[in-house]
């Protein structure tokens, strides 16, 4: 099924895909979200649901670091590990200089690799964690990502108390952080492949409609993944994009169909899963690094552990703009990264099986 590698890159498959023969395991995940996400359809599945958006911190930026630490802490705790057991941490967020991640990492004694991939960071961090583990450079790596609605709003758009009216195509940045521990041995779903995306720009300039901007990048990564690996739609139970939301997802579905890939019934989007758009005031749906992070780490992981899903393609999508580029009249370059996560049978593990992800949200 998988193509053979190329000279000098034996685990490289096709043009953009990597395979991980040792099948690194996601042994634990943790999620922490704000109240709006807790009130959404997936609310009961998150480990921590906050009652407000500041959590007693002195600013939105500090609150986002706090959220990331809660998610990472939940992941570590649920597995009976400590931070000393982690070899490496990959994290990124939407803030300038990814300060939420750096300031969270400051609290931990784990070597830190900061990432910027906008809302596609979760899949990117999972891919890199799997790669380091598979290549023998880490026994356990922490892949995480976060976003916070208010820290993102004040940086990208307006002050949070400004009375601007949100367009119907706009999306609500998720206040949430998701963390996953990827290990060489253990029980849990495995990461078998990753397709790293290329930056694509189809000329969309409207930052209030990022779904349209990101759809081509998502489609390119998905098409390339299937082409590189030789998988077909029936090999996957679900393909989940990160945050295309209402507008982007409908465009992506159409583009995939016209490209000859029929994912009917197997295609969803985390931005549409996280909120109830009919009575939560979120316009087109959710967005942000935290969107695919929390939906994957809580909801999709549970479905893999419950054996509802056998194989999942998580395709996190990112819009690589800044307020400056938008004001300078530039269009929005986008990227999408994908990881294949497969339900696996138990593997021999010195620590024994880890408890199932999710369930029993703790209200703080």
């Amino acid at each position: 099924m998988t193509a053979t590698g190329k000279p000098g890159a034996r685990n490289r498959v096709g043009r953009q895909t990597l395979r991980f023969p040792s099948r690194p395991v996601i042994i634990s995940t943790g999620t922490a979200v704000g109240p709006r996400e807790g009130q959404g359809p997936l609310g009961t599945g998150f480990d921590v649901v906050k009652k407000d958006t500041l959590f007693g911190e002195k600013s939105w930026e500090h609150a986002e670091s706090h959220l990331l630490l809660e998610a990472a802490g939940a992941a570590v705790r649920k597995c009976g590990l400590t931070y000393a057991d982690l070899d490496l941490m990959f994290a990124g967020d939407l803030l300038n200089q990814i300060v939420a991640s750096s300031f969270a990492a400051r609290e931990l004694d784990v070597p830190f690799v900061g990432l910027y991939a906008a809302c596609s960071t979760m899949a990117e961090s999972l891919a890199l964690s799997a790669l380091f583990v598979d290549a023998g450079y880490a026994a356990r790596a922490l892949a995480c990502s976060s976003s916070h609605h208010d820290s993102a709003e004040r940086q990208y758009r307006y002050p949070t108390e400004f009375g601007a009216q949100r367009a119907p195509t706009s999306q609500w940045t998720v206040t949430g952080a998701g963390a996953a521990i990827v290990a060489a041995v253990g029980d849990g779903p495995v990461i078998t492949h990753a397709t790293l995306g290329r930056v694509l720009d189809f000329g969309i300039k409207d930052p209030n409609d990022m779904g349209s901007a990101m759809a081509p990048a998502a489609v390119q990564t998905i098409l390339q993944h299937f082409q590189d690996t030789g998988f077909g739609p029936r090999d996957y139970d679900l393909v989940a994009t990160g945050d295309l939301a209402e507008v982007g997802q409908s465009i992506a579905a159409l583009l995939l169909k016209e490209a000859g890939l029929d994912l009917a019934g197997r295609y969803t989007d985390c931005g549409l899963l996280i909120y109830d758009r009919s009575n939560q005031d979120v316009q087109a749906g959710g967005s942000g690094c935290g969107c695919s992070a929390v939906v994957f780490c809580a909801h999709l992981m549970r479905r893999l552990l419950n054996r509802e899903l056998g194989r999942l393609l998580l395709v996190s999508t990112g819009a690589l703009l800044s307020p400056t580029t938008y004001q300078q009249g530039d269009s929005i370059p986008c990227i999408a990264h994908a990881v294949t996560v497969e339900r696996a049978g138990p593997a021999p593990s010195p620590r024994g099986p880890c408890p199932a992800a999710g369930g029993g949200a703790m209200l703080r």
Binding site: D150, E153, T160, A164, D206, N208
Partner: protein
């Protein structure tokens, strides 16, 4: 409550409402940044005032014409004209801010006080 007392409120409601509808339609049809619409409307107020068209709107609508941003533009222009008439050419540079000083100073000081007392809630 007589018609005479209610009428000014109705006029203000109508004129103010219509100016806002014009801005909303413009925003929804052009999909520009809301701040651009605010700048456009203050400039429109100054232009209409200069053409002698905003004064009658103020007569008809009272606060419905003075409270919206075009009313701010109108005050800027009228302030300049008045200052030039009273004090000569220097009025070109002093008149606008003089006429709107109350509102602008109130906004600046309110900003400070509110920032001191409250926190953003998101």
């Amino acid at each position: 409550m007589t018609t005479a007392t209610v009428l000014p409120f109705l006029q203000a409601f109508l004129v103010g409402g219509l100016i806002c509808v014009a801005a909303q339609l413009f925003l929804d049809l052009t999909r520009v940044n809301p701040a651009y619409v605010m700048v456009l409307f203050v400039c429109l107020g100054a232009v209409l005032s200069g053409l002698g068209l905003y004064g009658p709107l103020v007569e008809a609508g009272g606060a419905g014409a003075t409270v919206p941003l075009p009313g701010f533009g109108h005050s800027l222009y009228q302030g300049i004209i008045q200052d030039v008439t009273e004090n000569g050419l220097s009025g070109l540079l002093t008149g606008g801010l003089k006429a709107t000083a109350l509102g602008v100073t109130a906004a600046v000081l309110s900003g400070l006080v509110i920032a001191a007392v409250f926190n953003p809630k998101g």
